[in-house]
């Protein structure tokens, strides 16, 4: 059986923004003044967040997810690899998913090849290696022209994977990263190399590049319900075009969940953290209010064709997660699923059944949510939601995707 894989994703938000943050500041990204960092109140913050991920491992999640963002209050992980290194020593079973490192931001992608290879060895082969182009804020952070991002990303990924699989030293000609000596020590422990995941937001260009190489596609757009199903269909189609067969494990999606004993309790306990996350952390990213830095003419990563399509799309489609004004509006979007174990199970099951995506990367901690609440939600999920989802999805996937077989490891689907 191949049940859905359930991962715990931590964004590691800065939890001490002032009450009037939304009034006074235009963004939680790039320009958010770092004098807001409170040295006293942040003592122990990384320990708290890391321990939540270690707890996820103890609860039997399939893995822990980290990501890279710079100069922001949304996620305190400019270097996810440092946190991944800590996790290699404190966790035992789960995959360590770094989603992702951002090669276009770096002068030398070999540094990423080396650090990922170290993490794979340090974790005894538990690394999932993510690579991403970086969004608008990251372009501002590291001064990388958006039109060059994709080209740099794919040259870097190909070079890194080749550095893991081919014997060195060899020379790489460029054009972005010419390199005389490519000879990575250590080599990764997994053969031929750790699973490669690449996030995208439904652009056909990214799907093509991912499918062609047999990597995993991670939908990062927080567009749920119909959007994920469409993306999965599109990606399956693109894979087929490249002579490959889609299985649910070729795709991942980001979800946000809070579970409590009852629906009412779940809403009451999670509201503060969720609104902090939406109003503060998403300001500058997925909100119209404030300075929107994620996409636009200032960070023009979309092709002219894609931008034209965007301009032609109806206005209403531009509404972003952080624009939600009421709890009801939020519930309609289905991006953040809050409720009793039964409610959450039902909604996630509907999602799995509909989208047939096999990797759910779930955010449990929101903004300034207290440690005890995040842990309680994770525990309830692991004990009262996950077992049913695994059982039902295993049966469903076996029926719909017979090529998965009983013995066939997921990796062989590559």
């Amino acid at each position: 059986m191949h049940p859905v894989r359930l991962f715990c994703w931590h964004f590691m938000a800065y939890p001490h923004l002032p009450e009037d943050f939304d009034e006074k500041y235009e963004s939680a990204w790039v320009t958010v003044p770092n004098r807001l960092w409170d040295r006293q109140r942040t003592k122990g913050i990384y320990q708290e967040y890391l321990d939540q991920l270690v707890y996820a491992d103890e609860l039997g999640f399939d893995g822990m997810v980290l990501n890279e963002h710079h100069q922001n209050a949304y996620g305190l992980m400019p270097s996810p690899n440092l946190l991944a290194a800590a996790l290699t020593q404190k966790t035992k079973n789960g995959k360590i998913v770094v989603l992702a490192n951002l090669p276009p931001m770096y002068l030398n992608p070999l540094r990423i090849a080396e650090e990922y290879a170290m993490l794979d060895n340090m974790s005894n082969g538990r690394l999932i290696a993510g690579f991403a182009v970086g969004g608008g804020p990251e372009s501002f952070n590291y001064n990388v022209p958006s039109p060059h991002g994709r080209r740099r990303l794919w040259e870097a990924i190909d070079l890194i994977v080749k550095s893991w699989t081919d014997d060195g030293p060899f020379e790489h000609e460029g054009p972005c990263y010419p390199m005389r000596y490519v000879n990575v020590w250590p080599r990764p422990q997994q053969e031929p190399h750790p699973e490669v995941w690449v996030p995208g937001s439904r652009s056909i260009e990214s799907m093509e590049e991912v499918a062609r190489r047999g990597y995993r596609y991670f939908l990062s757009s927080r567009s749920h319900g119909g959007g994920t199903r469409m993306a999965a269909k599109e990606f399956a189609g693109v894979m087929e075009k490249h002579g490959k067969t889609y299985t649910p494990f070729h795709m991942g999606v980001l979800m946000s969940v809070y579970v409590a004993e009852t629906d009412e309790q779940a809403k009451a306990e999670s509201q503060e953290g969720i609104w902090y996350f939406l109003r503060n952390c998403l300001k500058g990213h997925l909100r119209k209010e404030g300075r929107s830095m994620t996409f636009g003419p200032g960070v023009p990563s979309q092709s002219l064709r894609s931008w034209e399509a965007f301009l032609n799309a109806p206005r209403s489609s531009g509404s972003l997660l952080g624009d939600a004004e009421t709890w009801e509006e939020l519930e309609e979007r289905n991006s953040i699923i809050v409720g009793s174990p039964e409610t959450v199970r039902r909604k996630l099951w509907e999602f799995i059944e509909d989208a047939q995506v096999g990797n759910l990367l779930i955010q449990f901690q929101f903004g300034n949510m207290k440690d005890a609440l995040a842990r309680k939600s994770m525990k309830l999920f692991a004990e009262e939601v996950a077992p049913a989802l695994r059982r039902d999805s295993g049966e469903l996937f076996a029926k719909v995707f017979p090529q998965l077989g009983d013995e066939m490891p997921v990796e062989a689907a590559q």
Partner: protein, 269 residues
């Protein structure tokens, strides 16, 4: 006047041509023809009364093909030299506005024999310590749904009719939204990364151009500070500098007759 296409290195370059007489190559900027509107502004029409104005659109702007290999001002300069080759312009007067002014200055320093007279309007391109250019890329990203910051960076009166008309908060129509995206995608290729809109060595190379140069600058330019004009004036061997009071970076739109008049007089001298 006419628009036509030229083929340069296998790529289409859209060209605006107007007027009769001595050819003058016009290199456009952002708040300009090809950048903020597909057609000419009154400034261009005024300029074309005495000369033959030839204005190619930079790669990716309006109907010109994108060039994904474009990643430095040197690339844009070589592209422009190729356009001159294709037009048979062995030597011509060059008028450059904004980014186009920087390209014109690069050509004058590198290939002074290709440049007759030189006019720079609100040109970045030099390193002027303590006077960084404004961050256009941040300014064009909507703040609370609007782009007042961009208008303020480009116009002396950012909330005036002219600014609002060309750079409205909402994409007034698809064409305007597309043009803006196109010019920003073009200039992001070289101007988004350090050192942004200058080339540190250009200043020491300007002396190589011995011809006459006219350097015009809006006194209230909030994208390229006016001391860039002074720096260009010092760098060239034969330059006159004029600062236009009450005008911003978009001085050609804000003072079309005045700027066109000064240029026409300079080209006639």
């Amino acid at each position: 006047m006419s628009m036509r296409d030229l083929t340069v290195a296998g790529r289409t370059v859209q060209l605006y041509e107007a007027g009769e007489g001595t050819p003058v190559l016009y290199l456009h900027g952002i708040a300009d023809m090809h950048g903020a509107a597909a057609g000419p502004f009154p400034f261009h029409e005024a300029l074309a009364t005495d000369v033959k104005l030839i204005a190619p659109a930079h790669p990716g702007c309006v109907g010109s093909d994108e060039d994904n290999s474009l990643e430095s001002i040197e690339d844009l300069m070589f592209h422009t030299l190729e356009v001159m080759d294709a037009l048979g312009l062995e030597k011509a007067a060059i008028v450059g506005n904004c980014i186009g002014g920087w390209v014109a200055a690069e050509i004058a320093a590198r290939n002074p024999e290709r440049v007759g007279k030189l006019v720079l309007i609100g040109a970045p391109g030099l390193f002027v310590s303590g006077s960084p250019t404004g961050d256009l890329f941040m300014a064009v990203q909507p703040l609370n749904g609007g782009i007042a910051d961009l208008r303020a960076m480009l116009f002396a009166d950012g909330e005036g009719e002219l600014a609002q008309d060309l750079f409205p908060d909402q994409h007034r129509d698809k064409e305007q939204g597309m043009l803006r995206y196109q010019i920003f995608r073009c200039i992001a290729r070289f101007g988004f990364k350090p050192p942004y809109f200058y080339h540190r060595k250009l200043r020491d190379r300007l002396y190589r151009f011995k011809g006459p140069a006219l350097v015009l600058h809006g006194a209230d330019d909030a994208f390229v500070p006016p001391d860039y004009a002074a720096a260009y004036g010092e760098g060239f061997s034969d330059a006159s500098v004029e600062t236009i009071a009450g005008a911003g970076h978009a001085v050609i739109l804000e003072r079309p007759d005045e700027v066109a008049g000064k240029i026409a007089a300079f080209l006639k001298e």
